[in-house]
């Protein structure tokens, strides 16, 4: 296999992040957040950019991953891998069930139904105080060191170790998504995106493909959610709210949803922007809103799409 320059470049940037982040006044927790939210945005983009289906309720699966991870650590067993697995199971099962309900809808209708269904989980988390901690979120669990048999990686206290742990998870997930997209299955998704009617005339089972893409997207989304819960030692009902879904969509669009790495770039820009805006002004929400408007009106192809176009011109 040929070495692809983009993959080599991104790998280098990410692997070396703990060394160069302090130089630009960054910190490791911020880098870890970019990775986690970047994974979330890339998972959403699997559906949005590569299947052409607009889900505006993906925060639900992100949040379910976080809660599943928290429940496992709090009530089941103190094991980090088990917790991630539980988070992924919860989010994926929910995605598979709801996906089956909505897979026949398209466009605006699909978006509305996904938004509305996403809110169910928000209200459950918000109201079921005894289990979820309600408005305060789920607390009382903490990430556990990883036992590899011959050695233990202490991700509980060492933030650099945590960063590399998240990076490994990120690399596995993103690698799997990349492989899936290069497979015949992924090519079929692209065909559906480009022209659904033609794909249907070719005899492809469209609904099955969209459903499967939805479930895969939810699986990686809930993995990101689980990692987010580990990062914060906390699961937040706001992570389930539809405004969070909107944040994920804008990350994907901001970076460029037609490119594989775009959402990661979008997440990085978004996280850094949010981090610095919220420390500067109390009206940071407005500025995020203004960013939405500017991206939609002036950079609908995202940063990568914009740069690519400029280099061609």
């Amino acid at each position: 296999m040929k070495l692809r320059p983009d993959i080599v470049g991104i790998s280098l940037i990410l692997v070396l992040a703990p060394f160069w982040l302090p130089l630009v006044h960054g910190y490791e927790a911020l880098g870890t957040r970019v990775l986690v939210l970047g994974l979330a945005a890339m998972s959403l983009n699997f559906l949005l950019g590569f299947t052409g289906v607009l889900s505006f309720g993906h925060a639900a699966y992100f949040g379910l991953g976080a809660y599943g991870c928290g429940f496992a650590l709090k009530y089941l067993a103190p094991s980090t891998p088990l917790a991630i697995l539980c988070g992924m199971l919860l989010g994926t099962i929910a995605g598979a069930l709801l996906g089956a309900l909505i897979v026949r809808r398209r466009g605006v209708y699909f978006a509305m139904v996904t938004i509305a269904f996403g809110q169910v989980f928000y209200f459950i988390a918000f109201r079921w105080n005894t289990l979820t901690g309600g408005d305060d979120g789920l607390r009382g669990f903490s990430r556990q060191p990883i036992d590899l048999g011959f050695t233990t990686i202490n991700i509980a206290d060492n933030l650099t170790a945590l960063y590399y742990f998240v990076l490994v998870c990120f690399a596995i997930a993103v690698g799997l998504m990349g492989l899936l997209l290069r497979s015949p299955f992924g090519r079929t998704l692209l065909a559906i995106r480009e022209n659904e009617r033609r794909a249907r005339f070719l005899g492809l089972p469209i609904e099955q493909h969209i459903w499967l893409s939805f479930v895969i997207s939810c699986a990686f989304m809930s993995m990101a959610g689980a990692l987010y819960a580990l990062l914060n030692n906390f699961a937040d009902p706001k992570g389930l709210h539809y405004t969070q879904s909107g944040d994920f969509v804008i990350m994907a669009v901001l970076g460029g949803m037609r490119s594989f790495w775009g959402p990661l770039l979008g997440a990085a820009v978004f996280v850094v922007l949010q981090d610095s805006l919220s420390s500067m002004t109390t009206n940071w929400q407005s500025w995020i809103g203004v960013m939405f408007v500017i991206v939609v009106l002036f950079f609908p192809r995202g940063l990568l799409g914009f740069l690519r176009r400029k280099s061609q011109a």
Partner: protein, 290 residues
Amino acid sequence: MDTQLILFNGFNGLIVGAFYVLMALGLSLILNLSGVINFAHGGFLAVGGYLAYTLTPYIGFWPSLLVAPTLTAILGVVIERTMVRRLYGRDPLYSLLLTFGLAFIFEDMTRAIWGAQGVPFAPPEYLSQPISLDLFFVTYYRLFMMAVVFIAVLALFMFLRYTRIGVRIRAGTLDLETVSALGVNVRALRTLNFAVGIFLAGLAGVLAGGNLSLEPTMGANVLMPSFVAIIVGGVGSLPGTLVGGLLIGVAAGLTSVWFPSASEAVIYVIMAVVLLVRPRGLMGEEGVMT
């Protein structure tokens, strides 16, 4: 079970349902003709309520009932002309994101102008009396609200049924290209339609402010149920939206009699059941907007 309690919650549900109807009808109008899911609709609702609050000391309650929604509608026209219009015909993703961002700005701006704390917006004293001691929850104001919603809905349906512009809006919902080819100015039609939708949101804001109090987040809270109302009733059908709004309002109200903490979730259960049994919604037609 106490009948009064059931009546109380059922009536509350009906009031809430009436709000959903006003919100959802406006959303539906814009969605049907322009294919835009207006996330900022809740923001317009809040603006309508706060404008009435500011105007009432100067012009009185009754005039502000009409003036505040009209001003809100004008704001809507400005936003439609400058921003939303550019996105017609594009992937619905973009108008969704635009209005989503606008909703953030609206909420933040209302907070900056009128404060994060809720402000009381009292309707005239004679309207806040209950009609009887047994039915203490049935105040004249609430009856008045129901009447206003009824009149607004009736007026909307008459407008769409009997006026030339209304007929064009309905025709445009079915086939905009043909309507345009017949010489109708589709751009102006969409702007007007947007204004009508926002007017309804502003009106709902004024009424809601008198019922509870004004808060910057008040619009965002009714937005999701309004989406559910549209989906339950059937995307593309205004009568469906009406039925859907009342249905989920009353259902949520009655649920709070027996199982208060599930009153928000129950509307989503209804939506799931409807989508399972009748995917196009109660009164939706197959093939429209799906």
